[in-house]
Symmetry: C2
């Protein structure tokens, strides 16, 4: 491309391009494993993934990489190369600080631990899982020490998922949000308005759910020449290359919400990856900047757009034209309210827009305390249930519905959960900023999503990893993380539905 | 696996396993590109394939590989390692004899030439294609010289596709077969029996074609836990790993034969790969031994089984139960005859079981003479048309229907075509041998395919590349290549249909 790179710059970009290409092959194998690879091929395919991942890891931690970093760091005029070097340095440091034997043991333990977790969850047997979870906690504490950190030890882990966000940042916002949400929840619980979710259930043929979902995806601006929609068990979006960003969904014929809101959610993730500046393609900064910013994009579309009144004002007819007879008598208000029902529940992934963040706070506080050695794994089930009762007012009666429900810790992903709640806050803050420039509700009500998508591209998508999460947020909204927008948004929304004032 | 390998053996097997794993990733990318990858992702994906292929090529021609070959050749007790070393040596020699600059130019020219061919075919413009074809011929002549050969120069190329088969072998059988087939064709042409293919055409919904095809695949013994059936433009079978061998097909709602016989054909290829001995998995000898033996497997199922009277005696009801109303009045004999119609046509891939080999002989004679500098590219269109007239009694009126129809030469694949005709002969000879041990017709008539599949596994599939094509044939049938079986089979079959005696 007409770029004037010197020899070292060119060599570095060629080297990292090969790494990206290996990752593309790995991603395709993951996509395939989750969308229909025959079961007898899985073991061999997983070994191929391991071999290619090992290759990428070796390239990321090689002497060659070290020299590129030394040569180019602070010594290049190209901002893409500069950020790419920083990204590579970060990976290099993270990987090279852990003794390689220890890392290998950890990787082996990860899969074992995840499969034991699965068994434990199925059998509601926390004791089976406990020793593995204890080891995962120990490894993560040691890794945090190897990596080093400022302030709280948990910062070392958080930084893997949400670079730049610290315990200080979270502890400054989470309690405020928690207080506001629990207050709100109380009002809603006491409201006389009856919201009946049963108007949403009932047989809805898969092909009709699919055509509705496809139409919405198209209207959102998802580019089908650069992607496709497939079926899977646990839906996800995946970027293979800039021209191939796929979404997957799951059809539940007894509840259309799974597929429809799921597809829109994954579509939000996909729009992010489809709209990263093509200049960044096949570089280390080619994809979304963090878990939290990614989640802000999926949640923006799923909640701020697709659960809004404006959206259904426009799309209810389209919905009915795809829905079977049994839905034709549902009136708009009942439908819209049901789509926004608030009800504390035990399972995070089934939570509504309001209580979701409370689930996250339970997990955040527990994992922070675990890593900081304030609590022990053996006490987790009780502590979990206590927190659930405190924040959501309901108490799990089994560990299956409590501590055993999520795979994250089993795989050693400590520091991941906060991203979900950050995603909600980022989304609300971006939504507020967008409203200063666009009449968002009017656009949604017209089904004119392009200016919205374009705003998100201008302010978020295009940058890939060229900006850190809080930098994105600051530049797009003119202020740092402010949880008031989420609280305000939810308060206004539910006031109208539950009429609690 | 409890194997007692010394250090060098283990290192060699580890090294080649990684090569197989790269190839598995590459194969998945090819499968994906041909079954629905979004168009904007194609260019990037093709570059990833190129990068990984380059990696495999480097491993195959590395100093490390050279040393493995030197250390292990004739110096291992494990027959799998011995054959694997031979296979690697063969690749090493082939690759290292071509100057690497020249090979790169060739690879670049290949894609260019194929895309020009496509344009030329579309516009019926041989002159556009001619200079590219001339270059491909020149490269192949030079490569043959680099590689060296005994006897005819064309042997060097033939050996890439059908190791051990030479011009002497072919010239000993092809003229005999040609004579017999042209005689047979004449009798058929003069027959008074009317075969009406129109009973087979008419709208046949895709999903019904699919369920019929899936049922047949299942009955053949294709293992769906180790494979899947997808849709594509140019059907193929592909082995990703021993537990993942996929088939693809194409549905033409106006002609069910495309999907049904196509699926059975690809299913035959897939059965081969699914039944290679698992001991050979991820070694250099893990897959089918040659193009010709592979084709014998697909043709065995497509023709010897699925175009036989015994097959339709059993499956006609199943067919009708899937077929739309318009097919319900077709009587069995008309149907069976139509499925076996013989009619000289200009396009190879549309040819019937009898005339197919004649198309191959046209190509074989021309490419052999081209490589041996007896004829020139500029004269090919006329020579092609003359041969078509001589062997099939029909003459193309455009190059589109003549010399421009196949992509093979555009991609430099000289020496490939004979495999198709060999496949027919191998299949007939295997069929004859099988009949000595099994009542094949009775089994097919009962729809009991397992003993047939098992015989093929015992005699062909299991060996992978542990035996060369003619070794497979000799061991399975007790004699070397004998074209009489094909002639006899076709004579007997068509005698009954066209009653020409």
């Amino acid at each position: 491309m007409g770029k004037q790179w010197n020899r070292a710059e060119q060599a570095f970009m060629d080297y990292t391009k090969v790494m990206s290409q290996y990752e593309e092959a790995i991603s395709l194998m993951h996509w395939d494993l989750r969308t229909g690879a025959p079961k007898k091929g899985v073991e061999g395919r997983s070994d191929v993934i391991a071999t290619l991942s090992q290759q990428v890891h070796e390239m990321a931690t090689s002497e060659t990489m070290k020299q590129y970093i030394q040569t180019l760091k602070g010594n290049t005029d190209d901002p893409i190369i500069q950020k790419s070097v920083e990204e590579c340095e970060r990976n290099y440091e993270q990987s090279s600080k852990i003794p390689s034997e220890e890392y290998k043991e950890y990787v082996a333990l990860q899969s074992k631990s995840e499969s034991i977790w699965e068994e434990a969850k199925e059998n509601n047997d926390f004791e089976l899982y406990r020793p593995y979870l204890e080891k995962m906690v120990e490894y993560n504490k040691r890794f945090a020490a190897y990596w080093g950190y400022e302030g709280h030890i948990y910062n070392a882990l958080l930084d893997n998922f949400e670079p730049g966000v610290t315990v200080d940042v979270l502890d400054n916002v989470f309690p405020k949000v928690r207080k506001a949400l629990t207050d709100l929840l109380q009002k809603i619980t006491q409201s006389n308005v009856e919201v009946d979710p049963s108007v949403l259930t009932g047989h809805f043929p898969k092909d009709k759910q699919q055509s509705f979902s496809l139409e919405i995806l198209k209207r959102m601006g998802y580019d089908f020449d650069g992607g496709r929609l497939d079926e899977t068990v646990h839906p996800f979006a995946i970027d293979l290359n800039p021209g191939d960003v796929r979404v997957t969904t799951k059809y539940d014929e007894a509840d259309f919400r799974t597929a429809v809101f799921g597809t829109i959610h994954e579509g939000g993730h996909a729009l992010y990856e489809q709209n990263v500046d093509t200049e960044l393609a096949y570089t280390p900064v080619a994809s979304g900047t963090s878990m939290g910013i990614h989640e802000s994009q999926s949640l923006f579309w799923e909640n701020f757009v697709a659960r809004s009144k404006a959206f259904w004002n426009n799309h209810f007819d389209l919905f009915l034209s795809n829905a079977p007879t049994s839905f034709q008598h549902v009136d708009f208000t009942s439908f819209f309210h049901a789509v926004n029902e608030v009800k504390p529940s035990l399972i995070r992934i089934e939570a509504d827009e309001l209580t979701y963040c409370l689930h996250i706070m339970v997990r955040y506080e527990l994992e922070k305390a675990l890593i900081n050695s304030e609590i022990e794994v053996k006490d987790l089930p009780e502590l979990w249930n206590d927190k659930m009762e405190e924040y959501l007012g309901i108490r799990p009666t089994t560990n299956q519905e409590g501590i055993l429900q999520d795979v994250h810790w089993a795989g050693g992903a400590f520091g991941y959960f906060p991203s979900y709640a950050l995603g909600y806050m980022y989304a609300a803050q971006l939504h507020h900023a967008m409203q200063q420039q666009l009449d968002v509700d009017a656009l949604v009500a017209q089904g004119t999503f392009d200016p919205i998508r374009q705003w998100l591209t201008n302010n978020v998508h295009q940058y890939g990893k060229m900006k850190k999460p809080l930098e994105i947020l600051n530049d797009a909204t003119g202020e740092s993380l402010n949880p008031d927008y989420l609280v305000h948004y939810l308060t206004e929304k539910y006031k109208k539905i539950y009429l609690y004032e």
